[in-house]
């Protein structure tokens, strides 16, 4: 365990923990758009930046992204200095130039007093904030069906060759975790469509309710030793019953995958 000072208050933390986790635990409100507990921190949005110093640094300060900075004993942190507020304002202002009509961005920007962008808006705005969460989560799930394409300002998230992605199994992890609901999908009857690809959903053997795509179930049964018919059970209690009967299943945790 280590001790750090956050906004003047002494706080205990686990050695090597990322600063953002400690800040969140202390209920300090720091925006972090490209962050998700399930995947490695990325440091792309820069909103979680905080100011750090140490006694030995004689007043020299550094600004770091708290999502990627490991705590160490004696670290002194400030989270809401005027410089940091100014930085977050500018970043949100820039975000608004790219996503002027996205409610999540508008709300966050308004919290920092930015109601419209002071820069030039892009020609055809959409809701993608290029946080990369979808691609990182997809990698984490093991599919890597989509990725960041092109470089710089023209960067976008797309399936390979901008066609229906062959590696996608329709698990919806990307869409469900997108901070701005940019990734659209439809579930109509027995069919799910996402990223231009159609998937046939398995059915609950008793009620006929759709569950998950066949391809996803095949992957899970192959790599996770979960029998495919488990996914033909939409009823929660029915599933619980079956799960208990399956005995110990390999639980997917971050530690295990490293």
């Amino acid at each position: 365990m280590v001790t750090v000072t956050i906004n003047g208050k002494l706080v205990r933390a686990k050695e090597g923990e990322m600063l953002l986790a400690v800040l969140r635990r202390e209920k300090i409100d720091i925006p972090a758009l490209c962050h998700h507990e399930a995947v490695e921190p990325y440091g792309a949005c820069r909103l979680c930046m905080v100011e750090i110093t140490r006694k030995e640094w004689d007043g020299w300060k550094n600004m770091v992204t708290s999502c990627l900075y490991p705590v160490a004993d004696g670290l002194i942190i400030q989270t809401h200095t005027t410089d940091l507020i100014e930085l977050r304002k500018t970043i949100l202002d820039l975000y608004l130039a790219r996503c002027p009509n996205t409610p999540e961005i508008q709300d966050l920007a308004a919290q920092y007093g930015v109601n419209q962008t002071s820069y030039e808006q892009v020609a055809e705005p959409n809701d993608c904030i290029l946080c990369g969460l979808c691609t990182r989560i997809c990698d984490r799930m093991g599919f890597s069906a989509i990725s960041a394409v092109n470089r710089g300002h023209g960067r976008e998230i797309a399936p390979p060759l901008k066609e229906a992605p062959p590696d996608c199994v329709g698990c919806l992890a990307c869409a469900l975790n997108c901070p701005t609901n940019y990734i659209k999908y439809t579930d109509i009857g027995q069919t799910r469509e996402i990223w231009g690809r159609k998937f046939e959903l398995l059915r609950d053997s008793r009620t006929g309710q759709p569950t998950i795509p066949k391809e996803f179930a095949e992957y899970l049964s192959k790599y996770r030793n979960i029998p495919q018919d488990y996914f033909e059970q939409n009823d929660e209690s029915h599933r619980k019953e079956t799960a208990l009967g399956l005995g110990k299943i390999a639980v997917w945790s971050r530690e295990e995958s490293q």
């Binding site: 691609t135 599919f143 890597s144 069906a145 989509i146 990725s147 960041a148 394409v149 092109n150 470089r151 399936p159 390979p160 060759l161 992605p165 062959p166 590696d167």
Partner: protein, 129 residues
């Protein structure tokens, strides 16, 4: 993976979709990763290039010595913009950030042949049939 794609690019003068698929399979890498790499780096083109690729250096030294004008002249002469290929697939224009021949600015490279000291007078001669 990058070197494999470079070899393919050199051979076919672009990266055909088939090639991306095969690279992914052969190297046991996800197709999305191959596509990311293919679109990230300037060296790769997903569209076929012309027989003659005219690379105009727009590095600082060349810019100061009038590269923008040379680019404009060549673009105008061929009727296409940088990044495009002529209809008859004879010429493609590309801009390069710097080829390291700065003392010979402005520099234009036509299919690996370096031309230094290019001026308004001789720029279009480089792209004559």
């Amino acid at each position: 993976m990058i070197m494999v794609l470079q070899d393919i690019q050199r051979e076919y003068r672009y990266l055909p979709c088939e090639a991306l698929l095969q690279t992914a399979q052969a190297l046991d890498v996800k197709l999305s990763k191959v596509f990311s790499v293919a679109t990230f780096y300037n060296a790769f083109s997903l569209n076929p290039k012309g027989e003659r690729v005219v690379r105009i250096c727009v590095g600082t030294a060349c810019h100061i010595r009038g590269a923008a004008l040379i680019k404009e002249q060549i673009e105008h002469h061929l009727g296409i913009k940088a990044g495009q290929t002529t209809e008859d697939m004879k010429f493609s224009i590309e801009v390069v950030a710097c080829v390291g021949a700065c003392a010979m600015a402005p520099v234009v490279i036509v299919n690996d042949k370096y031309h230094g000291g290019v001026s308004v007078g001789n720029a279009t001669r480089l792209v004559k049939d």
